[in-house]
């Protein structure tokens, strides 16, 4: 960590902000005692199962459940007729049926649900439901969906959103022009904990739902509408979450399990298996992108023109916001005077796509960074030099007209990467190299023959927090009292801990602000106001900000209380390591004695500074709260005879503003980089006519420990004065630049153009 920050307030105590204390849930997790959503159990509970459409596009002509209902052990078989409220839900638009009524729009769409006393009974009954379909032609191409003569899949057409961005001259002249058409395949979040939860009826028409999600309150809103209940009747508690990465922002089994619980009067557990998980959540939008970059002979960008098509699949999910990101971040972290971008998000009959780590910025980065390498070639510059010449910095005006008003150290990130040592040269062909260090590993496909090394660089940009005028807030309650002779704080929020370590960060913030070691993070539930989504790299900023604000109110009240008791002024008092102290006289009292029987309890709803909607014609507006930047250097060895790639090293430099927890920051960078590596060389949900061909971990490959190389990581801390503690959201930026850096390295090794990710052996050979 390279620098420090202003804005840390008082209360020196161990394990506060800037330290790396152990996670409060870590011990339970390593003992196997942490209760994930699939681990829940209730006396007398039933198991739910979901019948899904086998067709990507069809009209339902009949549903006969009679054979399923009579299976011994079956308690309910429900269809759309049994949905008591609105049979539609969705994050941005309620366009998705809870259970299909007249038309199915993707392979895997839920049609009916079953509850039975054993999961196998539920599965067998499900197969006895007789659904008849008239198959319809699927729409499977996003460009066709926008421009072609194809069926309208939803009222109003197949365009979910078109976002144009217009800045500067629209017909500029440039010395050097490079163009390209790029494709990004459909990536899966592949969180390991499957969609699951337990719905428990309360006996009074309401339900308690224990579930793994990213945003309890937006789940609650959608469930309430579908069930025709009030928010008071539908209470959600966060169960243990086995990873999320965007894939839990949309509903999966929430409404289905609640519906079954209310109909049967019994607790209902639903757990998807891995195949069903591929149908049960949205994926990263596949993209087709047409880019034109114009520059002066010395490589300074004159213009960027782009058309970006994002395939949203059957339902809107968060496609609108993904389009906004891809459009506004479509030129990357560069200063470009003239910009014309059009980005479309479409409906098709492919699997629904929505949030995944990087959220629109990942797709665009593969396009613009591939273009920057082409431009470097065309201008005779190195890949890093062309990026440095165009690097944005604080004060740069974005294509939206928004001025970047905090650190944007793009050139510095590249400098730091270049200064890192390179790995040792590859072993010579035919030598005695350890097979494990070669492409193909112990498969024994080469002893070094045909192995070529390449090096590539990339930089990415990501907006942090929710954008485009969204009322983005988080709610936190902080309570301080003496418990068992010690000062103790409880923190309550509805913020989803999905593995990233927010629970640790919130404890650290309390320790820093109140000087209290004993901090309990209460279970996250809907009995408090919304914390917003665990997405957009926003929870340290937002719920961290809310907890800090509540802690400051508690501190203010406590110091007033103490000042009165001790006949001091509030201004001279501060908290330090469980003590109350004054500037002049040092320690005055133990905090626990000052507290006595008093209790300080504050709830705060906290917002980041407001943003603006984009102008629908020009895409102008101060749409984003904060920008995050990461850069990668990848070194690859490619067996050019077989097309096998081994990533030898993957180094990263990222500005995080302030590292609240350095160990967690580095963990985010490592994990995010691995997901970018997956997209670069292995991960794609392959569809054919709208049907997923590889819904398993046998056929959808994610990086193993053999695939991930060692990483050198350089964390910059250039504080953002607008953010709590100066922090900058960490989770997404490393996923963005990892992919194009690896592809650039493969291009350098092979000389191939490589216009599509993931890169496959047949693209190389």
């Amino acid at each position: 960590m390279t620098s420090t920050v202003e804005g840390r307030t008082t209360a020196a105590t161990a394990n506060g902000v800037g330290a790396s204390p152990a996670r409060p849930d870590g011990t339970r997790k390593v003992r196997g005692e942490f209760a994930y959503s699939s681990d829940l159990w209730h006396e007398d509970m039933l198991w739910g199962a979901t019948l899904r459409s086998p067709h990507p596009h069809a009209r339902i002509t009949g549903v006969d459940v009679s054979a399923a209902v009579v299976v011994p052990g079956v308690h309910a078989v429900l269809t759309h007729d049994d949905v008591p409220g609105l049979n539609r839900y969705g994050l941005e638009h309620p366009d998705q049926p809870v259970l299909a009524d007249d038309v199915v729009r993707y392979r895997g769409e839920p049609v009916a649900v079953v509850a039975a006393d054993h999961p196998e009974t539920a599965q067998r009954a499900m197969k006895l439901i007789d659904v008849t379909y008239d198959e319809l032609d699927p729409v499977t191409d996003a460009e066709d969906a926008v421009h072609g003569e194809v069926a309208e899949l939803h009222p109003g057409g197949n365009v979910v959103r078109h976002a144009p961005i217009r800045r500067g001259e629209q017909t500029p002249q440039a010395d050097v022009i490079v163009t390209g058409r790029y494709e990004v395949g459909m990536q899966d979040q592949a969180f390991l904990g499957p969609e699951s939860g337990l719905a428990v009826p309360d006996g009074h028409g309401g339900v308690d739902l224990y579930v793994a999600t990213q945003w309890l309150h937006v789940d609650q809103q959608q469930i309430v509408a579908a069930l025709g209940l009030t928010p008071e009747q539908v209470r959600l508690t966060l169960a243990g979450v086995g990873g999320a990465f965007g894939g839990r922002e949309d509903l999966s089994m929430q409404i289905h399990a609640s519906l079954l619980a209310l109909y049967t009067g019994k607790p209902v557990k639903m757990v998807y298996n891995r195949e069903e998980s591929f149908y049960g959540h949205v994926h990263r939008h596949p993209a087709t992108m047409y880019y034109e970059h114009g520059a002066t002979r010395d490589g300074r960008l004159v213009h960027v023109t782009a058309r970006i098509y994002l395939d949203g699949g059957a339902y809107a999910s968060s496609t609108g916001a993904v389009v906004g990101n891809a459009a506004t971040l479509g030129v990357g972290p560069y200063d470009v005077p003239n910009v014309s971008i059009d980005c479309w998000g479409t409906y098709t009959n492919n699997p629904p796509c929505g949030a995944m780590r990087g959220f629109g910025a990942v797709q665009a980065a593969f396009g613009y960074e591939s273009q920057m390498d082409k431009l470097a070639d065309a201008c005779g510059l190195s890949p890093t030099e062309v990026r440095r010449r165009n690097a944005m910095s604080e004060g740069t005006v974005m294509p939206t007209g928004q001025t970047v008003d905090s650190a944007a150290p793009v050139a510095e990130l590249l400098d730091r990467l270049e200064a890192m040592p390179l790995p040792a040269d590859p072993a010579p062909a035919g030598g005695t190299a350890d097979l494990r260090t070669l492409p193909g590993g112990v498969s024994n496909t080469t002893h070094g023959e045909g192995v070529v090394r390449g090096v590539g660089y990339a930089v990415g940009i990501k907006n942090i927090c929710f954008s485009e005028g969204f009322d983005d807030y988080s709610t936190a309650r902080v309570r301080l009292a003496a418990v068992g002779g010690e000062p103790a704080v409880t923190v309550q929020t509805a913020a989803a801990e999905v593995g990233q370590g927010l629970v640790t960060i919130l404890q650290q913030i309390i320790r820093t602000e109140l000087g209290v070691d004993q901090v309990t993070i209460l279970p996250m539930d809907t009995s408090i106001g919304s914390a917003g989504s665990t997405s957009a790299s926003r929870q340290s900023y937002m719920t961290g900000g809310a907890v800090r604000a509540a802690a400051l109110k508690v501190r203010g009240a406590l110091l007033s209380h103490a000042a009165t008791r001790l006949s001091r002024t509030t201004a001279e008092l501060h908290l330090d390591g469980g003590k109350l102290a004054s500037v002049s006289d040092g320690v005055l009292a133990d905090l626990v004695d000052v507290l006595g029987e008093a209790e300080f309890d504050e709830t705060v709803e906290w917002r980041h500074r407001p943003t603006e909607a984009l102008d629908p014609e020009t895409g102008q507006g101060n749409a984003h709260v904060q920008y995050g930047f990461a850069a990668h250097r990848a070194v690859v060895d490619v067996d050019v005879e077989l097309g096998i790639v081994k990533v030898v090293s993957l180094d990263c430099a990222q500005d995080v503003g302030t590292a609240l927890n350095p160990q967690a920051v580095v963990g985010q960078i490592q994990g995010g980089s691995a997901q970018g590596l997956g997209l670069a060389v292995m991960e794609e949900i392959q569809t054919e006519g709208g049907v997923i061909r590889n819904p398993s971990f046998t056929d959808y490959l994610i990086p193993t420990v053999l695939d991930m190389p060692p990483m050198t990581i350089d964390v910059l801390e250039l504080a953002d004065p607008h953010a709590p503690y100066g922090l900058r959201g960490v989770g997404e930026p490393p996923t963005i630049s990892s992919t194009p850096a690896i592809v650039a390295a493969i291009r350098a090794a092979t000389g191939k153009e490589l216009l599509r990710v993931p890169v496959r052996p047949d693209h190389i050979v």
């Binding site: 390593v30 003992r31 005692e33 904990g193 967690a664 490592q670 420990v705």
Partner: protein
């Protein structure tokens, strides 16, 4: 059917087991031991790794009946009371746990590796853990944890 087996040193019995159930299902749903995880249930992810007669196995690939009269040791059986096994402790200390869903399987796999090879190299760790998927950490801190556990043992 009725199933008798030893789990974490205790004789256990499960009644009314359907023949198609896996050992993983029996552990999780019938014996109150959900520590072994159900990430893929097809033997690809390693999250359900348990010792079966001292040999690591994916519990999802073992039919319940195959475990009759055998000894199973799960992640719940590694700690000594409140004292974590060094592998467990080093996973916590090294930051190798994020969401933690892969952790039980990785802890068992790493525990097995260190029994066979007390001071493994990076390459040996990578080969030994190649059957365990993790989606959060990028594996770097898992390597750190295994080295730390080796040092601590």
């Amino acid at each position: 059917m009725r199933l008798n087996l030893t789990v974490n040193g205790e004789r256990r019995r499960a009644d009314d087991v359907w023949e198609g159930e896996s050992l993983l299902y029996v552990l999780r749903e019938r014996l109150g031991l959900p520590g072994s995880k159900n990430a893929c249930e097809q033997g690809e992810c390693g999250s359900c790794t348990v010792y079966l007669d001292e040999v690591p196995a994916c519990a999802c690939l073992v039919a319940a009946g195959q475990a009759e009269d055998r000894e199973v040791r799960t992640v719940e059986g590694l700690a000594d009371g409140d004292t974590l096994d060094p592998v467990q402790q080093s996973f916590v200390d090294s930051g190798a746990v994020q969401c933690g869903f892969c952790t039980p399987g990785l802890v068992v796999a790493a525990h097995d590796l260190l029994r066979r090879e007390p001071d493994p190299s990076d390459e040996e760790i990578r080969e030994a853990l190649a059957g365990n998927l993790c989606r959060c950490t990028g594996y770097e801190k898992i390597l750190d944890a295994v080295h730390a556990a080796a040092d601590a043992r």
